[in-house]
């Protein structure tokens, strides 16, 4: 151990060394260390490089707000994590950490050339630079920006860890387990409330962990703390550590991200790495405390310069002195205590530099007692040291002028610019804030949720006031349940009260062009950048933020927002609240995507609906595709076949003999009741009254706007029952739409709607031999063409099962669809396969189905239509009941634009080169030699190779397409412009004779 580790200091386990590596070098820390504290104990401050200028950086904080000390951590394949905050990562055996944003090494980084060029990279750099020439975008700017963008390297392997998700309901949720939160939790629990207390740190205690000298209720802080932990447990309070409240949502729902394994030497078998909690709380107590504000001065970013509170935490909580010779720079009393603690631990204090002329006399006395040099009314004009701070140069301020400077040697600096309440979660609720002039901070104002905000989070300072406030918050929370709390605020001795002054930027005598005073450390935003943004017209802080990127780093402005605002306000000559505060949004700290995803990944990403025949298809090595939430067999390749070969074979077999197709996924809705026909009349374009029982019709469904929403064959089972089929993806939408009209527009109609999609398995047989296969298996129905013609349906038995049989054709061949109860689907399929053997029956998938229907010009809603296609556009004008007085969408068809000429109409395309497959989505033009941009006539909607026609085919939407039959159009594609002729989309057996056999 180095001399920087205080013997037996802090809360770390001195008897338990933990080995780890940083940038390949081996180090040893102690159990209880964070990566940052362990490195600091080894004298390492340099932990990263900044984003833009690649400036060497060390940790400035000891918490989750850390902007600089971000490292990559890993523990084996797939388990790597970029941007781990070294200040939060607990040390574990074998931890491998690597610095980021540097090449080739942290100490020598080529990217640092950006720092020399800093005048070029001023505010608005991206907006000003990457503007022209246009051609540079693809080849120069974008690759350069992409290479430079982001910190760290995203893992490429699949994450082997699991992530959990839980819900919880609780009376009182207390966020933040510092003294305020502990007092609130105890008070509410004693009154009988169910309490959950969460804290993002490894242990509870908050600021008390860094302030052991305070005495509470007559006990040293840590003894008191241990007692309270026991009391919380005894009262049944759920205490969750390593758990960050990342977002506060409506009606008191708070999201918690719990980290379960990153701190463990070994990952327990099956343990989730992180767990997302969605907690619905009766009352929320926000006790998030305050964040220390950096001072903005020239050279404030060198490794070794950190917040005074962080230095105090490293010393008291981790037993690590941040250096041998510390300079203290402050505008607030709190840093004086840091100086005293450091001095008492054997750290030389080079000086306490206070910007105020008259700091607290008691503090001055304490400093004198320790013989610490004190410089009051001073400013920092500069610092030195490349990879570690070597000195600070300070000067007195008199009447706003910088006096004669002196340089003070040091190897670390503890700086404090005051404290700002952590209002992030409160702001998530849209609680309003008010600006407190005296403390130059926003305080919570009006609440919008059932919450209390207490302690330093609402601007209180010192242990006695925040403990009392915690008790008050706990009492208020409990009383909202009608429970009476009887707690008294604990007495405090040796409290550390304090006040401070506020500065936007510390004055300096250095030439303005050479000043580098950082506001946002990670994104390298300087005070000058913010002034420049204001002078270039950014008057709102939201604009300043986007122009300079201030507050857009991974700490989301926790350190930079208030300083940035003060500088902008000062430059504008306005009060800060007039300039505004940028909105805080969830998550409070960066949260892994996996935590949000939880169980929803891989096969659990969403539901996969499978038909009863799916297992059989899987055994046949079918290739599947997702359609809606269904998994459908796309084609059934035989050995050595690719998709094209398989589809060509399946198409030929179906057209020449018979194909079998699993159509179970088709949406099915039963429309039943005395008013069923009337309801159908009102919803579908077609007339239904005269459709006979046992007859079916192709139906078209529009939206009220007149555009095609869905289609499908509808059969009349009885006078009062229609069997409606919908597209696979549209089933739920169609039922929703029907229900909407039934429930809210026509509640007087006697009609009931039932989804039967899952109840029926559907097997389609298509091809000239379809009847021959089906006939021997069918009972109770004459399948002859005369008795059961095209567009008929009947209830009968097929293969011994109760069946509803449709005769229809989506292929142009003689076709049947056999519906049986889903549980018999597989048996039916197998029976048909067996009966089809003499005819070489061929199973085909969705791809073949698409080709066969395209050869006939049958549309697929959503592929050949896009929500702007009317029935007439699609060539389905015949399906619109001419004598009907109303149906959904009818009035819209008469709107001028929908009745106008020039609309895109569905046609066929015959490419001049029959071997060429047009690209679906490709644009169509009349003359490719016209200057760009030229008028687009339309686009290709479907395109396939047709075995039956011996050439490629396509469908397209083309302006006035039906008037352009035989005309030549051009289709520009990446490999060149192709010629095609406009034809009818119905290219195969145009008279439809084959389906009527």
């Amino acid at each position: 151990m180095t001399t920087l580790r205080v013997p037996n200091g802090g809360r770390v386990r001195h008897d338990e060394p933990v080995a780890f590596t940083f940038d390949g070098k081996s180090y040893t820390g102690l159990r209880g260390d964070t990566l940052a504290s362990a490195l600091l104990a080894n004298g390492v401050h340099l932990m990263g490089r900044s984003f833009k200028y690649h400036r060497p950086r060390g940790p400035v904080t000891a918490g989750s707000e850390e902007p600089n000390a971000l490292v990559g951590t890993s523990r084996g394949k797939g388990r790597s994590e970029p941007n781990t905050r070294a200040t939060m990562q607990e040390l574990r055996h074998g931890l491998v950490a690597e610095s980021q944003n540097r090449s080739p090494s942290l100490k020598f980084d080529f990217g640092a050339v950006n720092d020399r060029l800093h005048p070029v990279f001023s505010a608005g750099f991206y907006y000003k630079t990457f503007m022209w020439p246009k051609s540079f975008w693809d080849r120069v700017y974008e690759p350069v920006i992409r290479a430079a963008a982001g910190l760290g390297t995203a893992p490429k392997e699949e994450d082997p860890d699991t992530y959990a998700n839980r819900y919880a309901h609780v009376d009182v949720l207390v966020v933040g387990a510092g003294p305020t939160g502990i007092a609130a939790a105890l008070t509410a629990a004693k009154a009988g409330a169910g309490v959950v207390l969460v804290d993002e740190n490894a242990e509870i205690g908050g600021a008390l962990l860094s302030d052991p000298s305070v005495a509470i209720e007559g006990e040293p802080a840590w003894t008191w703390l241990a007692g309270r932990i026991g009391e919380l447990a005894a009262l049944g309070v759920t205490v969750m550590t390593r758990t960050t409240a990342i977002g506060y949502y409506h009606q008191n729902m708070v999201a918690l991200a719990e980290r379960l394994t990153d701190h463990l030497d070994e990952i327990p078998q099956g343990a989730p790495r992180e767990r997302m909690w969605q907690v619905r709380a009766g009352q929320v107590v926000l006790a998030q405390g305050a964040l220390e504000k950096p001072l903005v001065f020239n050279g404030n970013d060198r490794p070794g310069i950190m917040l005074a509170g962080a230095a105090q935490t490293y010393l008291n909580r981790y037993g690590v002195r941040i250096g041998e010779r510390a300079a203290i720079v402050t505008s607030h009393d709190s840093a004086w205590y840091t100086a005293f603690n450091l001095a008492d631990s054997g750290t030389a204090i080079a000086a306490i530099v206070d910007t105020r002329s008259h700091p607290n006399a008691e503090l001055l006395g304490e400093a004198r007692r320790r013989q610490i040099r004190v410089l009051v009314g001073h400013t920092v004009v500069a610092t030195s040291g490349r990879l570690r701070v070597k000195s600070i140069t300070v000067a007195p301020m008199t009447n706003g002028r910088v006096g004669k400077s002196q340089t003070i040697a040091c190897d670390c600096v503890a700086a404090c610019g005051g404290w700002t309440p952590s209002l992030h979660l409160f702001s998530h609720t849209k609680g309003t804030l008010r600006w407190d002039e005296a403390s130059a901070a926003f305080f919570p104002d009006r609440k919008s949720e059932a919450c209390e905000i207490a302690g330093a989070g609402r601007g209180l300072w010192g242990y006695a006031p925040v403990l009392a406030d915690g008790v008050a918050a706990g009492t208020a929370a409990a009383s909202s349940f009608g429970q009476e709390a009887r707690a008294v605020a604990p007495g405090v001795k040796g409290d550390r009260p304090g006040t401070g002054a506020n500065h936007a930027v510390l004055a300096t005598s250095v030439k303005p062009g050479r000043v580098r005073a950082f506001v946002d450390f990670q994104n390298d935003v300087t005070a000058k950048d913010i002034r420049l943004a204001v002078s270039e017209g950014m008057k709102s802080i939201e604009h300043v933020k986007r122009y300079t990127t201030n507050g857009m780093a991974t700490d989301q402005g926790k350190l930079s927002n208030i300083n940035g605002l003060m500088i902008a306000a000062e430059t504008l000559g306005k009060a800060p609240p007039e300039v505004g505060l940028t909105t805080f949004r969830p998550p409070y700290t960066p949260t892994t995507f996996a935590t949000f995803a939880g169980y929803h990944r891989g096969t659990h990403f969403e539901v996969t609906r499978k038909t009863p025949i799916d297992g059989w298809a899987d055994e046949q090595s079918a290739v599947f595709e997702p359609v809606g939430q269904w998994r459908r067999a796309r084609y059934y390749p035989k050995a050595g076949e690719d998709m094209d070969a398989a589809v060509e074979r399946e198409c030929r077999a179906t057209r020449q003999s018979v194909g079998i197709f699993d159509a179970t996924t088709l949406g099915k809705i039963e429309v039943a009741g005395p008013d069923a026909a009337e309801f159908m009349n009102r919803v579908y374009t077609n007339p239904w009254t005269k459709l006979g029982v046992g007859k079916a019709r192709y139906g078209v469904l529009l939206g009220e706007d007149g555009f095609i929403r869905d289609d499908g064959v509808v059969g009349r089972v009885s006078e009062t029952l229609f069997h409606v089929t919908t597209t696979t993806g549209g089933a739920a939408r169609v039922l929703t739409m029907m229900e909407d009209y039934r429930q809210t527009e026509w509640p007087d109609l006697k009609v009931w709607l039932t989804s039967t999609t899952e109840q029926w398995a559907v097997v389609a047989l298509n091809g000239p031999n379809a009847r021959k296969v089906l006939e021997p298996l069918t009972e109770g129905l004459d399948l002859s063409n005369e008795a059961f013609p095209m567009m008929s349906l009947a209830d009968c038995r097929v293969a011994g099962f109760r069946a509803r049989l449709f005769r229809l054709s989506f292929t142009g061949e003689l076709g049947y669809e056999v519906n049986v109860p889903a549980r018999h689907g597989l048996a039916l399929w197998k029976a048909l396969m067996e009966a089809g053997e003499p005819y070489d029956i061929c199973p085909y998938g969705t791809e073949t189905m698409h080709v066969l229907r395209a050869e006939k010009g049958f549309i697929i809603v959503g592929q050949d239509t896009d929500g702007t296609v009317t029935p007439d556009d699609a060539g389905l004008g015949w399906a619109v009941g001419k004598k009907k007085t109303d149906f959904v969408g009818m009035r819209s068809l008469k709107r001028p634009d929908l009745a106008a000429t020039g609309r895109k109409q569905l046609v066929g395309l015959q490419p001049e080169d029959g071997s060429l497959l047009l690209e679906e989505g490709a644009q169509i033009v009349a003359d490719p030699d016209k200057p760009v941009p030229m008028r687009m006539l339309g686009h290709v909607t479907s395109s396939y190779r047709s075995a039956a026609l011996g050439r490629s085919i396509a469908m397209a939407l083309v302006a006035d397409g039906r008037q352009m039959m035989g005309k030549t159009v051009y289709i520009p594609m990446p490999d060149g412009t192709h010629k095609a002729t406009i034809t009818s989309a119905n290219a195969y057996d145009p008279d439809g004779e084959r389906a009527k056999m």
Partner: protein, 99 residues
């Protein structure tokens, strides 16, 4: 996540069980063909888009599947009331008094 009271189930349940269904109290004209193009356009597309209490429809899709009406403040995202389809719209003054 919002909590929504279904007036049919008479239970307050998480938003996940519901879907939004557009502005409420827009009745489909009895005889659309008799409407002028402008009136039909207004029925189809024009919505009030209020800042504040908004009358809107929801559907308890993963519950009773009924459509119902609600008054939700679009600024605070708070539900002021929910009521059955077909019931008359509650008075805003009374709702605000109840707040």
């Amino acid at each position: 996540m919002l909590l929504i009271r279904c007036p049919y189930c008479e239970e307050t349940l998480p938003e996940l069980e519901f879907v939004y269904a557009g502005e409420a109290h827009i009745e489909r004209p009895k005889d659309p063909s008799s409407l002028s193009d402008d009136d039909w356009r207004d029925f189809l597309f024009m919505r009030s888009n209020v800042k504040g209490p908004h009358f809107e429809r929801w559907r308890h899709v993963h519950g009773c599947a009924r459509f119902f009406n609600a008054v939700r403040d679009t600024v605070t995202d708070r539900f002021l009331a929910t009521y059955k389809a077909g019931e008359k719209r509650p008075s805003l003054a009374e709702l605000e008094k109840a707040e």
